[in-house]
């Protein structure tokens, strides 16, 4: 609020207080309205607003301050509500009548237009009902000509619309890439809804060999042109890093963490210098191999709808946003995907969209929406999310809404896919371990050495032990163990109810210091190629451990 506005507000309050004092006095005397009080008239005349007192049934104007003549262009003595109505813009008449009717019982506020000599003026009106003993109610009206302010607002809105339009064009041209082609093994769609200010969301797609697609979604800190320029530079850093790496290596076979690392080297120093950063998720979808790899740098989760479990899971990583550090040793994760699974990448504009009461749309609501819409195509899902989040926020997004949806069409060729349910308790420890032990013995004798098989069982055993030890026995729920094998990877998955905790932190405990605990996570992390713990809905957790048979950590 400006100082002028504060002064105006204070004067208004004083005027109202005085007016009410006069009205109260007249009411006490039960006499004619004492609005001819010279003290009040002097004060009312000095205000930059007009005060009127009318009978509640609008049959008479009991008082009009000097500003009335300038506002309505008529003598107060000859004025009536019916005459005033003739000046009111026809589109605003209904609202004015309704407000005055309601104003008999409660204060109200509205804006309406009057038309005089072909020119429109915006009037801001406040009304306050005043009760009188043995008399009809009165309404005090307090009016102000806001035409100039309205005109300024209109110009500002036009300027903002212009900026939004320019911003949207900049984003389209510099920040938003498009997939180069369609893919048989998955269905792809993306969208961006610009907010009121230009933002720094950027996306891009990189076609790879054998139906693979690399895609990324980033979100630059802050807003406006600086964020957009940073987003454009970030996107450019990835394009240039990929071009440079492609000279010497097959990018489709390269771990995506190396691509992210190469791009980081091109831009992190500049970001640190500029004191800015961006969050990012870089993913590789391989529908035929049934695998989704990702590097998460502090971005919002990727939502994975898994048809097999009928659930949505939040895929998160442990890397810092780019620009936080000069160089990171990026962690890459991989989770199995199968036909009819969905992956949804999004910016926080969706989950942070707020309704009229300030409640955010939120990740839980988004997951429920995706799960209930899992039968839709990628494009239709995106459209539904756009419409529902738009309606939720009544179209008033504070951030850009950016999303990419991927729906898997290909059947993954699995050599084995088995799952079994167990009571979620310590007593199931050996049974679950035996289940994985049998899967390993039956299916991995060919592709893995004996030491590797033993190591895999050890890692699976540690994971099971962690789950049943660190989560209270759950009589209501069961936990499920699943084993999936393809010619490229083996996945060991546990679904359970419990607490979420950090599975990413594993360092070798110092055996020389006789450290007797803390080996479990280290063992799992050392043996498996990827370990992801994903939170689902209603307290469900999915622990997914993946081992690459060809290029994995064979013992």
């Amino acid at each position: 609020m400006t100082s002028q506005a504060i002064i105006a507000f204070a004067i208004s309050c004083a005027a109202l207080a005085l007016l009410f004092a006069v009205l109260l006095r007249s009411r006490c005397r039960d006499a004619a309205l004492a609005l001819d009080n010279p003290e009040f008239q002097d004060f009312a005349g000095s205000l930059g607003m007009t005060i009127m007192v009318i009978k509640a049934d609008m049959s008479a104007i009991l008082y009009a301050s000097p500003g009335f003549r300038a506002l309505f262009g008529m003598d107060p003595a000859e004025a009536s509500y019916a005459r005033i109505r003739t000046l009111v813009h026809e589109d605003d008449l209904e609202a004015l009548d309704a407000a005055l009717l309601a104003g008999r019982r409660a204060p109200f506020e509205l804006e309406f237009r009057i038309v005089r000599d072909g020119e429109g003026n915006w009037i801001h009106m406040r009304g306050f009902p005043i009760a009188r003993r043995k008399a009809a109610r009165r309404i005090v009206l307090w009016m102000e000509d806001r035409s100039r302010r309205k005109s300024d607002e209109l110009k500002l809105a036009q300027a903002r619309d212009y900026e939004v339009a320019i911003g949207a064009r900049i984003q389209q041209a510099l920040l938003l890439g498009q997939a180069e082609r369609d893919y048989a093994s998955f269905d792809l769609a993306s969208m961006t809804l610009p907010s009121q200010k230009i933002d720094g969301d950027f996306i891009d797609f990189f076609d790879g060999a054998d139906e693979t697609l690399d895609l990324m979604l980033g979100d630059v800190m802050g807003k406006g042109i600086p964020a957009a320029l940073t987003g454009a530079a970030a996107r450019n850093a990835f394009v240039r890093a990929r071009m440079s790496l492609a000279d010497t290596a097959d990018l489709s076979a390269m771990p995506i963490k190396d691509i992210v690392g190469a791009a980081e080297q091109r831009i992190a120093g500049k970001l640190i210098e500029l004191k800015t950063f961006f969050t990012l998720v870089y993913g590789r979808v391989d529908g035929n191999a049934g695998l989704f790899r990702y590097v998460d740098c502090g971005h919002t989760s990727v939502i994975h709808y898994e048809k097999r479990s009928g659930r949505c899971w939040r895929l998160k990583g442990a890397n810092a946003p780019i620009g936080f550090l000069p160089k990171q040793d990026f962690q890459e994760y991989a989770v199995p995907i199968a036909k009819d699974d969905l992956l949804f990448f999004y910016s926080d504009g969706i989950t942070e969209a707020t309704d009229s009461e300030g409640e955010q749309f939120g990740e839980d609501r988004l997951m429920k929406l995706i799960r209930s819409s899992a039968g839709l195509s990628a494009a239709k899902l995106l459209e539904k999310i756009k419409l529902i989040s738009f309606a939720y926020a009544a179209g008033d997004f504070k951030d850009d809404i950016t999303g990419i949806s991927v729906k898997i069409n290909a059947e993954t060729k699995t050599a084995s896919s088995v799952s079994r349910n167990f009571p979620q308790s310590l007593a199931s420890l050996h049974a679950i371990r035996d289940f994985f032990g049998q899967c390993i013995a039956k299916h991995l004798s060919g592709p893995c050495s004996e030491d590797t098989r033993e190591a895999l069982l050890l890692a699976a055993g540690e994971a099971i032990s962690n789950v049943v030890k660190h989560n209270a026995p759950d009589q209501k729920h069961r936990c499920a163990a699943s084993f999936i094998l393809t010619d490229a990877w083996a996945a060991f998955t546990l679904y359970y109810h419990g607490q979420d905790y950090d599975w990413q932190e594993w360092t070798l405990p110092n055996v020389k210091l006789f450290q007797t605990g803390g080996y479990g996570l280290y063992i799992i992390g050392e043996i498996m190629d990827s370990v992801t713990v994903s939170r689902g809905e209603d307290g469900l957790i999915r622990l997914s451990m993946l081992f690459h048979l060809k290029a994995g950590k064979q013992q």
């Binding site: 420890l429 050890l458 540690e462 032990s465 405990p509 055996v511 080996y519 063992i523």
Partner: protein, 110 residues
């Protein structure tokens, strides 16, 4: 738990398939009184087919307590899965790990 003392050497042979979260405490409760007075200990793991990180913790406690009072200890007979674990946590940097009981007895006699 089987144990035998021959020529001042205590040989502990846990007769359990799994040394893990479920059995580690009872293992520790049993070996501690046995080991307390021995100057040379051989922990023969030939009957243990699986050790997890909790079981490893109980072995480390035995090794720590033994070395702390100036006694000697070696491990032997570890099954392949157990060897994988020991290798991974570099247990060999702390205590000698021998393939067979015979080798361990030779070590004890040296």
């Amino acid at each position: 738990m089987a144990s035998q003392t021959t020529k001042g050497v205590l040989v502990i042979t846990p007769d359990i398939n799994h040394l893990d979260t479920l059995s580690a405490k009872s293992f520790s409760d049993e070996y501690a009184p046995l080991a307390a007075g021995a100057s040379i200990i051989i922990l023969d793991l030939s009957k243990v087919h699986f050790v997890d990180s909790t079981g490893l913790g109980s072995i480390l406690t035995l090794v720590r307590d033994t070395l702390a009072r100036g006694a000697r200890i070696t491990l032997c007979g570890a099954q392949p899965s157990v060897k994988v674990l020991f290798r991974m946590v570099q247990l060999g940097k702390l205590v000698s790990i021998l393939d067979t009981l015979d080798l361990a007895q030779s070590w004890a006699a040296s």
